[in-house]
Amino acid sequence: MTLPMEMLMYTCPKCKICTGNLHPGETGEVLNLCPAYTRYGFFTYAGGGKCYLAQGLREGSLEPDADLADVLYHCTLCGSCAEQCATDQSPTDIARLVRKEIVKAMGGPPGDAQTVVKSTLNYRNPYQQPKAMRYRWAKKLDIKDASKEKVDTLFYVGCTAAMIPSRTHFATNTVELLNAAAENFGTLGQKEICCGATTYNLGVEDAFKEIATENTEMINALEVGKVLTSCAGCYSVMKNEYPKVVRRNFEVIHVVEYLDQLITEGKLKPTKPVEMKVTYHDPCHLGRYSQLYDAPRRILEAIPGIELIEMPRNREKSWCCGAGAGVKTTYPDFAAWIGEQRVNEAKETGADALVTACPFCEGNLSDVVQATEAGMDVFDVTDLLIRSLE
């Protein structure tokens, strides 16, 4: 039974299962899964606590003010509480609902997240970059313009891979791999706009609807059939949330799904050994939000020389990277703390490198590695696959 959200608000029994791997039958150490609860300790920060905040707001006992916003936005919306909740409900959705109320009442999310929203609305990217910057990564590449010629697959690059110099390898790698497999694909070039994931996660409902509609209509008109993303955030929001706003005529695929398929079909042949012990970090939006756990692991396992070692917190029970839902922008110290826990966990496996499949995760984890001098490489799955191609 899916209970109405209001029921969940009032029925959280404070069992605290939202904070860790506590389901019966689990073995081994009890693992902390909720970053905010683990860091701050007060129940309010846990998924169940968010249900109580929603109650308070609903009853008028709490105002949508800075105090409430501070707790609510100290959360990456990683979805671990929803994954664990014994009532099979989603405290994450409740938290998102309360964020919407805060935005309505306060005119926007707290702190620097406001800038992100304004930028997304004004520039159609969260980084306050002019449109021209969106295609700079592809300057020397010959890529079809999907708005001008018919392609089978639209590569939707995403703002981070397009505009953050240290993350453009997500875009260039994808292009290189698609070319290696002789796929018929193109991009929207400078016409591409933000997917709206940040506005969605920050609770800015109107902005998200506006962007989702604009983006979907633009892509619908291309009649491409498939849209490929290299960002877990873009993937999750386009796949899972767009259909709730607007009719969509295309399938959304993440690059790891696509590459996994190309390897299976023999179109990509990773043959060159890459001698490395790696551990894989599941991006929340790829894993818990979209149940995409096996494809990235299959790719890594297909690369000769790679030894994949799992961290204790993996797949459904993965620990967040710390960057999501506005946390890196609004509370950078908290984002760094979450990331540090993850990097430490990765190091404890004995792996040489931490591999992920999301530019946002890679960004935060790389920042932590650099800041803490952790002595560990951070890669995207595509970085390693490319190395393995002859």
Binding site: L3, E26, Y40, G56, R58, E59, D67, T87, L97
Partner: protein
Amino acid sequence: MSEGGLQLKVLASPVDSKLVERARKELTEALGEEKVATNKAILFSYSGTALPIPKTMPDIVVRPKSVEDVQVVLKIADKLVVPVTPICSGTLEPSVIPKAGGIVLDMYGMDQILEINTDAAYAVVEPGVGIGKFVRAIKPHGFRATLGSYPPGNSVLGNYHLKGHGSHRASGIDSECLGLEVVLPDGTIVRTGSKAFEDRFPGQGWHAQWGPLPDLRGIFLNACGTLGIITKMAARIYPLNDVQAMPVMGFDSYGDAVEFMKIVSRANLVEHCVTWHWGLATIMNILASGGDMADSGDYLKVFTTEPWQHPGDRPYSLTLNIMTGYEEDIEAHTNILEKIAKGLGGRRMNEELQERFPGTWDYFKTHGIDHEPCTHFMKGFGMGYGFMHILYAEPKNIVPLERFGLEFIWNRGLQYGTTYYSHCLDQGRSIFLRLTPFVDPVDEAEHERAVEIYRDYIEEGMKRYGATTIRYDGINNYVEWSGGFGDLMKRIKTAVDPNNILNPGLKMYEGGW
């Protein structure tokens, strides 16, 4: 979100704001900002539970990490006379609602398993150790704990201290507590049982509940933090043994099931037994199977059939028997159980249960064979499952009380039905009966009706059937009802907590809310 519907109000803290500010300042200076919260949003989630009891805002929430932290908090609170309400897992107990405002002491941050003593078969835990963590820690040593049907995040100490249901052999669950460490309002540390001599003889373990002086353990159990803050508990643990078994017997009446529980527990054939009313067993089947409760025919059957009626297509009562031991022993005992059940018109249900009610089976198995805390029933909270009408009585009285209770609640007009489970305590000297009416969690009028029904049911049960209730609920005046006992408790309270800072909002010694 605030449009229309229920308007449940949270009550304001009665503590003077200047006093709060002074307490906040002193606590922050002593403990650091990370352990002290005054953010209103943080305070709100400590104002109440899913129980249909009005919330009250605390003024400060403190998360101690050590006994020393607890001493600091209590000394400051005692000096300033600011109320302190301790909570741990903070679930469905009235005692965790900070009715007097002031400080909520969130003990969940003290979460260490301090000792697993396999030689003497006990473990020492801090309040924040959840039952899931506990079970997982002792299992590799070949041990299990006494479990109720509570979920894995719930505090072991909280449950044993408040007499969570479940028992082992002759004990009720509070007997699982071997000893306690308690901090009094002036910061004094008290240890009970064999550990009382810790200061003079530091090598003492927790092996015995008692010593040469009167057993003070009992006055802190069920006291809901009104006499001291419990910071450690030694809990009994039991070997898992070679074989774990769970024969389930079906009966056509509750009376037969009670007779069965009495016989088999007195004959030491089982470690524990509990009887499930057909309604709750059916609900468990739906919930634990992941089925859609609202669309289920069984769901309608539960909520439209008078609960005292035989359901026709399944036994009225299912008795779950928990056993561990040597293989030959378990086999022989199982045969005897079956023989006793047959003699009472019952039958063994294991195969039928697995086939027809796999969710119920899975739920029972989690407890009875795997010895794990369960999560299955949590989904039931969507139906307002949290309200508990618990009485226990002698066997001859529990059977008529069951019928009386079902009719009493059914006829008082709650929207949904009522069902129950029933434990055998202390070899059947006493039988625990928890009636479970389902209360719409977002209907305020229904909440009020539910509280009235609860109050009346408990009083009638005590008056007519010689029953008693299991823990303090804040609703009835047990201190006055208990005469000399209540008077002594009042005197003890005054001596231990002269400023009445420990959970005064519960009004345990003044007759309830």
